[in-house]
């Protein structure tokens, strides 16, 4: 199929439609408003549901309701809106329901800016809401990956009965790139025999809830959820490593900064500095072991973590590396995208300090 020029936010919407998303609930917020805009035009054409909710709190609870009925439901927002959704995401996870949530991150805290950011790493990977849950977090760094991952996300969510978040910075929502719609990996999915589809053919109605009257029952549910999360950690870790085998410095980054670092690597290597990029694609589960194994090798002097935040993923990087090598940091916050030159300087400075 010929390549077409798509905007990131349009791709999020179209990929969801192609993955069989039955219902979209959302509320406009920059820099992702093209998603609800596209959905409002195209979902009805496919006989599907589009609702512009009165708020993000309403949108995520509509997702909760639709998911409980066994439908493929999705919402999208940007940082402040995702903060508002955290309670609902906790309920969805606590009720063991699948859902797809896209966060097109912008500068924070508070209202912040409308420019791209990665300062929602904590709230994405640490659960964000209350309770012992985790969301599976995928971080595409180009529009083709975005198209693939959003489609896959619906299967992953259904397979594990767990919310999946696609975390991109606003840049990825706003840029246009040529992509092709290629088939993505489809999974054999279990029947949704827990869904509240009415009592027909059943003795007792299905009940979807995150409320337990007996703490033993709640503990049991948590243990089951914990086992499920372990299974996710074992099977869903994704990463990409470029030039890490002979690197003296490994740069760790995801999303837009990872993309910028590909240009940084070329420049550093022409200057005689062997640099590599380790790019976590799943932010949770974090690719702990592969990162550890690359960094532990003798050729690696140090690690430079680069983020569009004050440093959040760096915690996971440090945990993975277990103190084996020094971890340096370079970050811009509030909506500023680091430049190729800035990262080159940071890498050189870190290497100088290491000597």
């Amino acid at each position: 199929m010929a390549k077409e020029l798509w905007k990131g936010n349009e791709v999020i919407a179209e990929a969801a439609i192609r993955a069989g998303c039955d219902c979209y609930f959302g509320y406009p917020i920059t820099p992702q408003s093209e998603v609800p805009e596209y959905m409002s035009v195209h979902m009805p054409k496919h006989g599907r549901i589009f609702v512009q909710a009165e708020s993000e709190v309403a949108a995520i609870n509509m997702v909760y309701g639709a998911a409980a009925c066994g439908l493929r439901a999705m919402t999208t927002s940007s940082s402040p809106g995702i903060s508002l959704m955290q309670e609902g995401i906790s309920y969805i996870a606590g009720s063991r329901l699948p859902a797809v949530i896209v966060n097109c991150m912008r500068g924070g805290p508070g209202l912040g800016t409308i420019q791209p950011s990665q300062a929602d790493y904590y709230q994405s990977t640490r659960g964000g809401g209350h309770g012992d849950y985790r969301t599976i977090v995928l971080a595409p760094s180009n529009i083709q990956e975005l198209a693939d991952f959003v489609q896959e996300a619906f299967d992953i969510a259904d397979y594990y009965r767990n919310p999946v978040m696609i975390a991109v910075d606003g840049m990825i929502g706003q840029i246009l790139e040529p992509i092709e719609w290629r088939p993505v990996k489809r999974r054999e999915l279990p029947p949704k025999d827990w869904a509240t589809t009415g009592k027909r053919g059943r003795k007792t109605p299905n009940l979807v809830t995150s409320l337990f009257m007996d703490p033993e029952d709640c503990d049991r549910m948590n243990q089951l959820m914990g086992e499920n999360l372990k299974r996710i950690e074992e099977n869903e870790t994704r990463y990409e490593a470029i030039g890490c085998d002979d690197a003296e410095i490994i740069l760790v980054a995801y999303g837009t900064p990872a993309r910028i670092i590909i240009s940084v690597l070329d420049e550093l290597r022409t200057q005689g500095i062997k640099a590599g990029l380790f790019r976590p694609i799943s932010l949770w589960p974090f690719p702990e072991k592969p990162l550890h194994d690359y960094v532990a090798k003798d050729n690696v002097k140090l690690v430079l973590d680069v983020e569009m935040s004050l440093g959040q993923m760096i915690d996971d990087v440090r945990l993975a590396i277990k103190g084996k090598k020094p971890v340096h940091f370079y970050g811009r916050a509030g909506g500023i995208v680091p430049t190729v030159e800035e990262i080159i300087e940071a890498a050189k400075k870190a290497l100088k300090e290491a000597k």
Binding site: E4, K7, I114, Q115, E267, V340
Partner: protein, 229 residues
Amino acid sequence: MKASELFQNRINIITGHFGTGKTEFAVNLALSFAAEGLKTAIADLDIVNLYFRSRERRSILEDAGIRVICSSQQHEHADLPSLPADIMTLFEDRSYKVVLDLGGDPSGARVIARFLPRIQREDSRLFYVFNASRPEIATIDSAEEYLRRIEDVTGLECGGIINNTHLCEYTRAEDVLAGEEAAIRLSEKTGIPFICSVAWKRLLPTLSGNAFPLFPIEILMKKPWEVER
């Protein structure tokens, strides 16, 4: 062919779906006018797109002697739908050759409607930038529907179709030519004249001998990972 021969009106209003490359074209058009020695102004009236607007190339434009007028001038990074008062200069001072860069959809184009009585008194023309690689307007029918919606909200009749079919850095000459063919079909269907095809300067050698005019451009709006080599 000189830019001022292709674009003979004093005020050139550039519109089209977001992602057609309309802003890149508008910026290049203004630079071409200035290079011909014309007293040039560009007004960025894009209140719809956020990250890639002509105001972001303000210094390149101003270095070329072009007057730059932006929406929400005091807050370049905000998405405030405010219009600057000095846009009136462009209607009143007829010594300016003007490029108006409108927002990337019918709602973005709406901002021009309030100037309609002024525009109608001036020597002006609305141009529709077409990109056959953009799925939302890839068919002749969808492209025409979009064009008509822009005409409806602006109250202006479209006076020219510009083929800007591209796939960013992956654009090949055949993409430009396939887009040109579609743009000409759109022109035939709507009766709106086809003006030219836009092409990156590096593609010009392979496109030489093209039956229709070519407007060469340089890409000025780089993505953060695109570095000069």
